[in-house]
Amino acid sequence: MQKEFLLEWRQKHALGGIMLYLVSTIFICYLSFAGIMSVQTWNALFWIIIAFASLNLVLKSFGDETSGRKLYLYTLASPTAIIFSKILINSLVMVALGLIGFLLFNLFMGNIAGSNLTYWMVLIIGVLGFSSILTMVSAIASQARNNFTLMAILGFPLILPLLLLLIRASLGAIEGASLRSISPDLVVILLLVMISLTLSNILFPYLWKD
């Protein structure tokens, strides 16, 4: 667990890379969407950027492991501990990235929801959903060839419905819906987080065998 944090810290250049990726994507959107931005577009664009950023981030959680380190981890810790620590670290980093991205997005693209607490809430829960589903997908994809393409192919259909839910819930938040009125969506997302944690716990040992 601690080691995971250390590793992540040691890879801060990679983290910086994703940070920069986020910034430049937002900047590109700022330049290319100038003047044609409605609230709906704003919202949809933001979630698409976050989805791609989490795909990139989660991909490297298994992609960067060398086989030597895998063997070392294998002898050291149980698969459950490994997958959970990976999910945890991905979630934490993703929440941080999501929040920074959100601030930047509000800065560049017009401050639509910057002070909207409900939106912040949706953002955090949504990002948890992304990282918990994608971590498992990354564990699968990392074992195959050309794993970035594979990661996108395997991951997108699984997070797409989540994305739709999030876009809907957050649009509600922008329009001033109370937390209670969008809570069914959030409950479903949390339910999915639970399910994907359970499944990861059951299925990950099978991936970790070699």
Partner: protein
């Protein structure tokens, strides 16, 4: 009944059933409903295809579980065959649905929870095929594919169950008073064809699956023999 006879009896039964469904589905009286009119006959085919796809993919889910329990490559081959068969029926279901939609809604595709759910489901299984194609070692391929399939199946199941209910307002039949499966609004004449149709399609899909599975088994054997000769 001895096993040998049973092996083809159910196929003959399926054939008769499907023949009945095609003839009855196209010829029997149907209630004249506004907008839908004769296109209501699609219910015998389109709905049957989706039922059989769900059935066959569920069987495949069980095979994947069986593989992870036993690590017997036989189950992997069977799971693979169910996906191919399920995709076949799913794509047929989408095509029949699209033709129907063009005639009743005036467009081939609408942004509707049910349609999107179907499309995403198909995408997941296509991704499964890609995943298999990018792995060479049979053991590893079987393991990863089974893990992905189980993971994806459960998550998709939750989505498809929950999504249309919470996002509401689907214009697809079967939701909010749109006539479809609810037994109350299925005409008695239609029921005479509809229920055999569902059974027929499910049996038919199982039959197709068996054929696909046997074909895979044979080509595996041939590859094995070729490899031995080299």
């Amino acid at each position: 009944m001895p096993i040998k006879t049973w092996n083809y009896t159910w196929k003959i039964f399926t054939l008769i059933l499907m023949l009945y469904v095609i003839l009855g589905g196209l010829l029997f009286e149907v209630p004249a409903l506004p907008v839908i009119h004769q296109t209501i006959r699609n219910i015998y085919f389109h709905v049957g295809m989706w039922f059989s796809m769900i059935f066959i993919l569920f069987v495949g889910f069980l095979f994947s579980l069986a593989y992870l329990r036993s690590f017997n490559l036989k189950y992997d081959r069977m799971a693979y065959a169910t996906v191919k068969t399920g995709l076949l029926f799913g794509i047929l279901g989408i095509i029949t649905g699209m033709i129907w939609a063009q005639n009743t809604w005036g467009t081939y595709w609408v942004n509707d929870p049910k349609l999107n759910g179907a499309a995403v489901g198909i995408m997941v299984y296509l991704a499964y095929l890609i995943l298999r194609a990018s792995l060479d070692d049979p053991e590893k391929r079987a393991r990863l594919a089974a893990v992905y399939k189980i993971f994806a199946f459960v998550i998709m199941f939750v989505f498809i169950m929950i999504l249309p209910r919470i996002s509401g307002s689907s214009i697809h039949p079967g939701v909010d008073g749109n006539p479809a499966l609810a037994t109350g609004d299925l005409d008695p004449i239609m029921r005479k064809v509809f229920f055999p149709a569902i059974l027929g399609w499910i049996l038919f899909s199982y039959w197709i699956y068996k054929v696909v599975e046997r074909k895979d088994k044979i080509s595996q054997k041939i590859n094995q023999l070729n490899a031995d000769q080299l």
